[in-house]
Amino acid sequence: MEKALQVIEEMTRLGIIKAYAIGGGIAATYYIEPILTYDLDIFFTPVKEGLDELAPIYEFARGRGYVEQAEALLIEGFPVQFIPAYNDLVREAVADAATLRYRDVEAKVVKAEYLAAIALQAGRAKDRERVARLLESEAVDRAVLAGILERHGLTDKLRKMEGGADEK
């Protein structure tokens, strides 16, 4: 995985993408217990907003001999899914990312509070489960989360979720 992370960092240095942060299952695994996942999800802000924000990434990847596998790119044998920051919440999460260390590599990762907010916004069953786990963990600062939720109109969504939560 460290080689894939190095390539993603390189893409930022080369200006292929403006900024990035690991999201999804691996970001969750960074903060809570390990969960089954198969892709390394990368939220990114493109250098240019446009119709095909993935084009520069795929062009770079083809030049390196990396192939596509379903929705992912196999980077150094590792499935990486690039997801353009699709709304203000995700853009803010990328801009305010934390840094993780894996072996000798440093990489950007979505902060726990943003990860919870993004999952809350997505609202699927597995996302609600992730929100619950993140809230239960010591990784989430509830005051920081409250600010994010307020800014993005998600406060009621959390209230409803917590109101209807069963203990497991």
Binding site: T29, I32, P34, L36, Y38, A70, P79, E138, E167
Partner: protein, 53 residues
């Protein structure tokens, strides 16, 4: 929660999750790979490969 026994089980589960969450990230990734191996033994899916970490 009405049942003390159930409350105790849930509390132990929470404690286990808390312990797992505090493992080093590298160790957690190793566990993810172990989960992938276990899943591969149950369901064959060519798109879902065990990571080459």
């Amino acid at each position: 929660m009405k049942s003390k026994a159930a409350a105790s089980v849930f509390e132990k589960k929470r404690e286990r999750r808390r312990q797992l969450s505090q493992l080093p990230f590298e160790k957690k990734v190793e566990i993810v790979v172990e989960l992938q191996k276990a899943a591969a033994g149950i369901r064959k899916d060519s798109r879902r490969k065990v990571w080459p970490i």
